[in-house]
């Protein structure tokens, strides 16, 4: 099973990226978590560009999502909302809506901020956006407040690591549930 991890922060020493690195250490056997680092290269969304010549960074992003069984996103909060670069990348992924690679894909959202609220509003908005795109948004939240103290450059807080492990487990369970539902599909019959 492959999980694609996307950090909404471009900063080198990002707390959110550190959370994802820590998550990579918590995945169960048989699960591989890959940290995607192409966010900065994704240009502003323009439907014309998509029709004429899709940017290489976007094609790479779409195939990374398509090749993953699940996606884990860690988002900071900018002005009470989702960072523009992250939202922009999701807008690219979402087109065309009916066949976009996030459709039905299990996605979990976590977030860290240096304030006390742990990016809860950005996470809520991100869940709304992902639902509109058609993703299977995992009903788990991890709001890491005071990230400068709790996360730093690497996560050593045992309680936080356990919570991170629970989110990863819920995401893996959502993939297994989806696989089970797909194999149990019934044909159209009266």
């Amino acid at each position: 099973m492959r999980v694609l991890a996307i950090s909404g922060s471009l900063r080198r020493d990002s707390h959110n990226t550190a959370l994802l690195r820590a998550a990579a250490e918590r995945v169960p056997a048989g699960v591989e978590l890959e940290l995607w680092d192409g966010l900065k290269a994704v240009p502003p969304y323009d439907e014309d560009d998509d029709h004429e010549s899709t940017p290489a960074a976007v094609t790479a992003l779409r195939s990374a999502v398509a090749g993953a069984d699940a996606v884990l996103i860690a988002t900071p909060e900018y002005n009470h909302s989702v960072p523009g670069a992250l939202k922009n990348a999701l807008d690219w992924i979402s087109r065309p809506i009916a066949t976009n690679p996030l459709r039905n894909k299990p996605v979990a959202v976590i977030g860290a901020s240096t304030g006390i609220f742990g990016a809860v509003w950005a996470q809520a908005e991100l869940r709304k956006v992902l639902s509109a795109i058609g993703a299977r948004v995992v009903d788990r939240e991890l709001a890491v407040g005071q990230a400068a103290e709790r996360v730093g450059a690497a996560v050593n807080d045992q309680e936080l690591l356990a919570q991170l492990g629970e989110v990863v487990d819920a995401l893996v369970a959502a993939v297994r549930e989806r696989e089970a539902a797909r194999s149990a599909k019934q044909p159209l019959a009266a």
Binding site: I97, A98, S131, A132, G134, Q186, A189, A190
Partner: protein, 179 residues
Amino acid sequence: MSTSTIAAPPGTWRLDKVHSSIAFQVPYLAGAFNGTFREFDGTLDVADDGAALTGVAKVASVDVKDDNLSTHLQSPDFFDAESHPELRFSSDRIALDGESVRVAGEIEIKGVKRTIEATGAAHGPVPNLQGNDSLRLQLTTTIDRTEFGVSWNAELPGGGKALSDAVTILTELYFVKEA
């Protein structure tokens, strides 16, 4: 006037899918939003001691005249078509009173089953152009979509919700008796 079971000759009655329709209507703002299912099937089995109605509609065939919305309806926010590709209905309690009909049965949406009652009108049977008996059932019921986990909504900027929880299902079922 007495209530009786359906006044149709015993046998298997197949749904004429071209002349039948399964539609739904959801109030929003000051209007109502309408949709239909293009793919469905149904059977009416009439025996001497009663009748049974079964039907199924394919979620992927929902038609709402807007591709973005149609896609959203397939997603986990609404029907979750991947996990629950079909809507189902079955009833073995069909009561006629003149042309009025009352059908009690079980509806399944998004994997959740609930007992509902639909009411409407029955017409026929009358022979169709091929000489086979045909009959028409017009049935309507209102359900609370949130009971089935079809719970998407959005807060309006001025207060209130974008979409009603109450959904009216309107079916026009035209059956032809098997020869």
